[in-house]
């Protein structure tokens, strides 16, 4: 069994940071017992995450089924669109939803024409709406992969046996859904437990505060570090519990590829065609109209972008590029070590998934408590954001690289060994060329996630020194919606440009 000193050091760092900061939080909380308001935040967090998971999963079934069994112009584009919300800055999604469902949004305007009162998007239903907007596409893609993984021969066999549709569902599609849906629900539930940006913008108040939001309020408004630490401890327990519960599923959480398979699922005509079309139109509209609304308002807002926006953009890009470099370097070293079964690979594999259990604000609270006695938190806003973003992107980057690293090892390790291809030469002539695609894709995902992240920066940033998502949120808070939409457009364009840039480099470099 070979040694992997580099991977061991990185794994120790990741474990130390994650668990060390959790320990800081625990120490900071002391013996503070949660207040009734904290229990309310906990209940709300779990309840909204459960509702979000349930709605995302239920609504995804008809959409994925329609995508699985229909071929039409724009199907590929629609599937690609389903991948977009994962990379979409949350603040942009919120702006889009406000533009459609908000008090002065399109729907409220229409209601006013009919003499009805406007909608209110704030509170539980707004939080759940935003989470479904962000996660419905993710679940749809997971289910679509499930459908396409059912061997075409089984459907042909069922058809040749003249199996009625109900029986086909029971024997083929039902088992697949039973296998995929629980995992999808766990993934969405876990993601929504750590929801901060949505709660910050659409929640709030006693009835709609998540634990993450309560941490932020305790630190920034009440200046109660011990209370924040107690809340962070609750959040850590929640996250760790969810990850432990869904360990098997979350470890496998991938993005998947190969959605271009030939038509295998029978495509009945008649009313079912209409139902499928309706599901697709509704889902497409639900995703596209808010995005389009941000785009339109953003274009109008581009005219009067505040001067401070460009500095915020610069900070965000610098943070995204640095954290991406750190994440990808660490993920590559860890994935290569695990792929070759180096000493302690099980430990390394577990550690690479560990950051899923912590949220940005839990890490942020730990860091805040650590640095507070020594330096002003504002001075460290950007380094802290880089570190936390790098840590939080690591599980995704690692999971993307691992299968490819394993294939590389299985296919070419013996040949490389027999030719003494090692060290830098091996990296340059074997690893980087063979892994260019997942490295590029992973870097694109990490950069977009970091670019759009609105989390730990809210704990540390002073009046100046905001990243672009925080800048957008502050514009919204000042009711400068036009300027906010303009800045949001710049934000989303930069996020997707960074993703496309890295992904494109990877594709081009791939053999």
């Amino acid at each position: 069994m070979s040694h992997a000193p580099g991977a061991a050091v990185i794994a120790a760092l990741v474990a130390g940071l994650t668990l060390g900061l959790a320990a800081m939080v625990a120490a900071g909380a002391g013996s503070l017992w949660p207040l009734p308001a904290d229990w309310a935040a906990l209940r709300f967090t779990v309840w909204q995450a459960a509702l979000s998971a349930a709605f995302s999963c239920l609504l995804a079934v008809p959409v994925a089924r329609a995508l699985a069994r229909r071929r039409f112009a724009g199907r590929g584009a629609l599937i690609a669109l389903m991948g977009a919300p994962f990379l979409l800055p949350v603040i942009v999604a919120v702006l889009g939803l406000l533009a459609v469902f908000g008090r002065s949004g399109v729907v409220s305007d229409a209601l006013a024409l009919a003499g009805l009162p406007p909608l209110s998007i704030y509170g539980l239903h707004g939080v759940v709406l935003a989470h479904v907007f962000l996660n419905l596409p993710l679940v749809t893609r997971m289910l679509l992969m499930g459908w396409e993984a059912i061997p075409a021969e089984r459907f042909r066999l069922a058809q040749s046996l003249a199996m009625p549709e109900g029986a086909m569902f029971r024997h083929l599609e039902g088992p697949m859904l039973r296998a995929v849906l629980p995992g999808a629900a766990v993934v969405v539930f876990t993601l929504c437990l750590g929801s901060f940006a949505v709660a910050l913008t659409l929640g709030g108040g006693p009835g709609a505060t998540t634990v993450e939001l309560a941490i932020y309020q305790a630190l920034r408004f009440d200046y109660a570090p011990a209370r924040a630490a107690a809340l962070a401890l609750i959040q850590f327990a929640l996250g760790a519990g969810a990850v432990a519960l869904g360990w098997a599923v979350l470890r496998q959480a991938g993005f998947g590829a190969g959605l271009g398979r030939r038509l295998a699922v029978p495509a009945p005509r008649g009313w079912r065609l209409g139902a499928d079309a309706l599901a697709l139109v509704l889902a497409g509209g639900f995703l596209l109209v808010p995005l389009g609304a941000v785009g339109l308002r953003g274009l109008a807002g581009l005219g009067d972008l505040p001067a401070g926006m460009w500095a915020a953009l610069g900070r965000s890009v610098a943070v995204a590029l640095t954290s991406t470099a750190v994440t990808m370097g660490a993920a590559l070293v860890l994935a290569l070590a695990v792929a070759r079964g180096a000493r302690g690979w099980r430990f390394i594999d577990a550690v690479a998934t560990l950051p899923l259990a912590v949220s940005g604000l839990v890490l942020g609270t730990g860091l805040f408590l650590t640095v507070k006695p020594w330096v002003r938190p504002e001075a460290l806003a950007l380094p802290v954001t880089v570190m936390v973003n790098a840590l939080l992107s690591l599980p995704y980057a690692y999971r993307l690289l691992l299968p490819e690293a394993r294939a590389l090892h299985a296919d070419y390790d013996r040949l490389a060994q027999s030719l003494s291809l090692r060290g830098m030469a091996r990296l340059r002539w074997l690893v980087v060329p063979r892994l260019a695609r997942p490295i590029g894709f992973g870097a694109g995902v990490a950069a977009a996630l970091s670019m759009g992240d609105l989390g730990v920066i809210t704990l540390f940033a002073g009046e100046s020194g905001a990243t672009l998502p925080l800048y957008v949120q502050r514009l919204m808070g000042a009711y400068r919606m036009e300027a906010a939409a303009g800045a949001a457009l710049v934000l989303v364009a930069t996020s997707f440009a960074l993703f496309a840039l890295f992904d494109g480099i990877g594709r081009r470099a791939a053999p």
């Binding site: 070419y412 013996r414 040949l415 030719l419």
Partner: protein, 230 residues
């Protein structure tokens, strides 16, 4: 001289012993049923698997401390003998310069090796643009440049048709002749053994038997070989 000195290979539910020598310059076929341990034997000599007991020596020197790249061995696998993202010339040049920084002299040698193996002018291609026979030739061109004294063939030509396989074996014989290499070749096909190898090792029932003259072995096959041949 290759000396397998009381070598024992074990895996769960599997055990293989080997205790024999192979003279320098010999051409030896290794034959036996699937799963008997033919590839295991080659992988042990090449350094990918570690014997549970015993020693593998070449010219009196124990190979145990040497990694696969440092052993006096060139091995051709069943597949994946070429890196698909490198050109044919780069793949062959790895035989002289493992960090792929070939000198001018190295590049000239690569050209000569490509000509020698019938691949003149194909150096700039990628492996995917080669036929199966050409890919085998490229791997042999690299073996020619490495000129290691032991050439191990783990059925690299199994996917080729009979005529093409005979061509490749003839080329192996030429390469081995030029480099003076001892050849150990795993095969399923008695004809390969009879046509190519003076000696044959029978691997069956957990034992790699000492090499015997191929003609006499097949003239009066022992029971294990008779069972295999059917």
């Amino acid at each position: 001289m290759l000396h397998l000195d009381h070598v024992v290979m074990t895996e769960p539910g599997f055990r293989l012993t080997a205790d024999f020598t192979v003279g320098a310059g010999a051409r030896v076929a290794i034959i036996g049923p699937s799963g008997a341990g033919k590839s295991t034997l080659l992988n042990a000599i090449a350094g990918f698997l570690r014997p549970a007991a015993g020693h593998i020596r070449w010219g009196g020197r124990d190979l145990a401390p040497l990694g696969p790249g440092a052993r006096p061995v060139t091995i051709l696998f069943q597949d994946q003998n070429l890196f698909p993202h490198l050109t044919v010339a780069q793949n062959v040049a790895l035989g002289l310069s493992p960090d792929l920084r070939p000198t001018k002299a190295d590049l000239a040698a690569v050209e000569r090796a490509l000509e020698r193996t019938g691949l003149a002018g194909l150096g700039a291609r990628r492996p995917a643009e080669l036929s199966g026979g050409q890919a085998g030739r490229a791997a042999l061109a690299r073996a020619l440049l490495r000129a290691r004294p032991l050439l191990l063939l783990d059925e690299p030509f199994a996917a080729l048709g009979p005529a093409l396989k005979q061509d490749m074996l003839a080329l192996v014989a030429e390469v081995a002749g030029e480099t003076g290499a001892t050849v150990l070749m795993v095969t399923h096909d008695p004809k390969d053994a009879q046509g190519f190898a003076g000696q044959t090792v029978l691997v069956a029932d957990g034992i790699a038997h000492p090499p015997r003259d191929t003609t006499t072995l097949f003239a009066d096959p022992p029971q294990a070989l008779r069972d295999y041949l059917g």
